[in-house]
């Protein structure tokens, strides 16, 4: 147990679970992950069967000649895995990274979308 703690502390960057919102709208599911400091190149999204894995790295290396007065955040590795519902159309998943927020849109499969049934008058 003690060695576990040490491993975490001596690792290059601490690992975080990004704060995530999961919402359902009519068109499908929307995931919002707060990943400040992560550039598009440092973001990896993997889809394996029913599991979506998001990983990213935010690095804030110390600037030469700067003296830190207050430190409330630091770099880290973001990592989080999500299990997808069967209702999600995996082929059409879209992701965008804007202002440090990763949005993943998972549309529902056609058959799950609500359909209105027309009634024909006889």
């Amino acid at each position: 147990m003690a060695t576990d703690i040490e491993k975490k502390e001596t690792g290059s960057l601490p690992r975080y679970r990004p704060a995530t919102d999961i919402l359902e709208r009519e068109d499908g599911f929307h995931l919002f992950l707060d990943m400040p400091g992560v550039a598009k190149e440092d973001l990896v999204i993997d889809l394996k069967e029913n599991e979506l894995v998001v990983g990213g790295k935010a690095d804030h290396p110390p600037v030469e000649g700067e003296r830190m007065i207050e430190v409330e955040f630091g770099g880290g590795e973001y990592y989080r895995a999500f299990t997808l519902s069967d209702a999600v159309d995996q082929e059409k998943i879209k992701a965008s990274l804007v202002n440090g927020v990763l949005e993943i849109f998972m549309p529902k499969k056609e058959r799950v979308l609500p359909k209105r049934i027309e009634i024909k008058a006889g």
Binding site: L23, R25, M35, G37, V71, V101
Partner: protein, 138 residues
Amino acid sequence: MVIDFSFSPFPRQIDRLFEELTRPFVINQRRMLYPPLNISEDADNITVRAEIPGLAMDELELTLSNKSLVLKGERKVEQGKYFRQERPTGAFQRIVNLNVPVDREKVKATLVSGVLSVVLPKSEDVKPKKIAIDVAKG
């Protein structure tokens, strides 16, 4: 029997426990501050960095008064049916007290991937200056 603790991990863990018992109030208070800030200083500038994901530059309000920098904004609630909500929402404000006069005209703010950096150049008159001393020959 003498128990030699010198190679055991326990004393350190006990220390850690006491540290945690005496500190949590402070930690909790710090966590309530949003957004988290890093403040640094070099010879020419004071730099304030903040983690504010999800906001565009025009949604942030930065005000520089005589002795402080005020950072204001609001994190919006997304539309839809929430299954899980972990991201903070609502209005926030943080005030950074500046103990050094800054050059108001040259303050620069940039926002890259949700990290705001505000560079406040120190006023010329507070920077240490080298004064040449002529040695009078007498």
